[in-house]
Symmetry: C2
Subunit: 440 residues, 2 copies
């Protein structure tokens, strides 16, 4: 369907290098495959500058993702538009703004799923559950660990870094442009998944109804009402936001940064416990928190980074045995959920952004009733999170910049030819966040 192509791509070759997964498991190959073409008027072809290797790629790698077909891996990428379908060549009244404004050569970042931007789910910001959405790096949609990839529903999916007038922000256009000029592609890549997912977790926690007495200083349910009275007894000590973060991979670290940014911006006293069994992840978390607090020049609360064994005692000590108001579960298995349950207070919330599979939830009815537990599950609507995530990225670029430093979210940049070894080492926990440069 090349009829829909409005421009030929800038690569002289017809094939490209790509990292592909082969069934049933642990079979990653770097292969020469055809460069994708426009298949639908709403498609874009993107030339990839950098592509990430994400923890959830390991689900597929290990054969746990339910995939049976060969496909290009990866759902994190930043790149430039090299071909556009015919939808982009016409005035697109009533359609997402990019159908009218996206141009060849524009620099773009994509969320980890495509989304139309036009249905009811997309319009209200639940882009991760667009009925037309597909997950990059799955059998239904080739991913970004390649030199080129096809982006469906590109006007709804992509975020155009070359045209800051097309996105919402607390910054003005000048500030947006200045910010973009400072951000390396390796920093922008966190927008694809890990940063919005961390912000999603923090946003759900801090805005949950059960947390509002802490935030507003009015007890439940008067926290939702203008009503006040002389029988209200909430104390300053009740207004400390207590939270635990279970799992300190890159998403957990981003959740911590987002939480810290929110409580600092709103002057909310806090006690946050960040938990991981892996010592090197804990070291990373500590380095990042030090950098965030240093840049704030103040600390309005306490932040502890602890092992699994230390976690319950720390929470007990910091909450007088009550438990945390919010637990952010960033792992994605039943034991992480059970552990979160143990840490959460009665009338607290477990915000789970981990990817959960077939095992049943590890709770019976009595457990959740007797502790008045609230739970939020599911995939981050990354495209909808971009405005807030981008603002945070700019504001905290001292944290999100850099590669291979103690506080860097990215540990190293490698070539596609190192993909097999990179998957192996990442799977074994021998390396942190790795990203691919497909042109070296």
């Amino acid at each position: 369907m090349t009829d829909n192509t409005t421009a030929s791509r800038d690569s002289p070759t017809r094939t490209q290098k790509a990292v592909r997964w082969h069934p049933p498991s642990y079979d990653i190959r770097v292969e020469e495959i055809p460069i994708p073409e426009i298949q639908h008027p709403d498609d874009a072809i993107v030339k990839v500058s950098l592509a990430g290797l994400c923890g959830s790629d390991l689900h597929v790698y290990r054969g746990h993702g339910g995939a049976n077909d060969v496909h290009v891996c990866g759902h994190e990428f930043v790149g430039h538009v090299v071909a556009l379908g015919s939808s982009f060549s016409e005035p697109a009244v009533g359609r997402p703004i990019l159908y009218s404004s996206l141009k060849l050569g524009d620099k773009v970042v994509s969320p980890f799923t495509s989304n139309c931007g036009e249905c009811s789910a997309c319009r209200i910001g639940y882009t991760a559950r667009c009925p037309e959405g597909l997950l990059f790096g799955s059998p239904s949609l080739n991913g970004g660990q390649a030199q080129y990839l096809r982006v469906p529903k590109a006007g709804g999916t992509l975020f155009n870094l070359s045209d800051p007038t097309t996105w919402t922000s607390s910054m003005n256009e000048e500030q947006k442009k200045a910010a973009l000029s400072h951000l390396a592609d390796s920093s922008l890549l966190v927008l694809a998944d890990i940063l919005p997912t961390g912000v999603f977790a923090a946003t759900q926690a801090i805005n949950h109804p059960k947390v509002q007495p802490i935030i507003t200083g009015k007890p439940w349910p008067l926290c939702f009402s203008s009503t006040t009275g002389n029988d209200i007894s909430i104390l300053e000590e009740d207004r400390i936001f207590t939270a635990a973060i279970v799992g300190l991979g890159p998403v957990g670290v981003c959740a911590a940064i987002s939480l810290l940014d929110t409580v600092a911006g709103r002057n909310i006293p806090y006690r946050i416990v960040a938990i991981d069994p892996n010592a090197s992840r804990r070291e990373k978390m500590k380095a990042v928190v030090d950098k965030v607090l240093e840049s704030d020049g103040k600390q309005g609360g306490e932040f502890a980074v602890v092992s699994i064994d230390e976690a319950k005692d720390k929470v007990k000590e910091w909450t007088n045995g009550v438990g945390c108001a919010a637990v952010l579960e960033v792992v994605g298995n039943p034991s992480a959920l059970s552990f979160s349950y143990d840490l959460v207070r009665a009338f607290g919330v477990i915000v789970s952004v981990g990817v959960h599979g077939e095992p049943p939830l590890p709770f019976n009815g009595s457990a959740v009733y007797n502790k008045n537990v609230s739970m939020d599950f599911g995939r981050c609507p990354a495209r909808a999170m971009f405005p807030l995530a981008f603002d945070l990225l700019v504001k905290r670029q001292d944290v999100f910049g850099g590669v291979g430093e103690p506080a860097s979210l990215v540990d190293k940049i490698v070539t596609l030819s190192e993909a097999v070894e990179s998957y192996r080492a990442f799977d074994k926990g021998e390396v942190g966040k790795v990203i691919f440069d497909p042109w070296n």
Copy 2:
């Protein structure tokens, strides 16, 4: 410990009539037992005017409540104070206001659990999970289906209807007194459990983060931010609050009234589907809704009362196949939860106020992840809900008044000697809400 008693009670007898449950199940007896005495300085003895028979009493009745010991049934009562412990005779600086102000003869209503009013949980409004709290009508605390009962931690637990200065309200003191003069005891009894639990369900639903795009008209997550932009595409049609209520017992009806009151007060367009397999419950629901809408003089949305078989089609029709933003589960078993899951939209919330037991939650990790489901579980903090519930009771007293009419929440008032037959008939679904007058 009669040393702690500051007044002798007004009954000339030393024994009283009480409805008691005997193990293992279905064994209700009306017996003469001793009148309770003050056991602790914080106790009050209440002479019961009316006591309710509630759906959750049936858990114990059927032997499913985990109870093994004989006890007085019932957790809904309104009455007058006839004895007070010594805590009430001293200035109680820093303690709940009732320790300084509650007097013999005061008319009181109680939540279905006791609570201290002084711990961290109570101070922030989570009174149902006070570590010192006990459930009335359980082996650990005799209930209200009697002529007298003992109320522990009475200064934290009771709501003093004789002294409106002791409670928060949107009404001033004059309005409170005028309101009280119109309310029959049979109306006030709904404060003990069913009305606050209904308001609790509605409050959790309407204030849930995932519902905020509908309420604010800004997509997720900008609904929490002052940020706006030219790429925001939420439409008027996305701003209809869609909800289902699963289970139309008295609590489900109260949840519907609270939801309707909230959406009317805030001009939120709505489509609400109320669901029950029982035709007489559906008739009651219809009569109540007609009365609410008639008193409002307008209808800002659509309200349907349907059977289980009709529910999915109605939700599909009203939400274009998307599902409801909120589902209020007021039943308390796994099949009601599964049904709620089927009705809720992706990124929707299931608010469960049903009492759940030992069976595991009927969801696996994939189900909750793939639909981005949020869930709130647990017991209503009834004491904390009293201010809002009381305001609603006064505002909607045309609905909450009356006994035995089509729109009445109370079907009949009976004597304690009719308890055995009342339990049997209520268990079989042959009668609706029954309340006991222990002095006839």
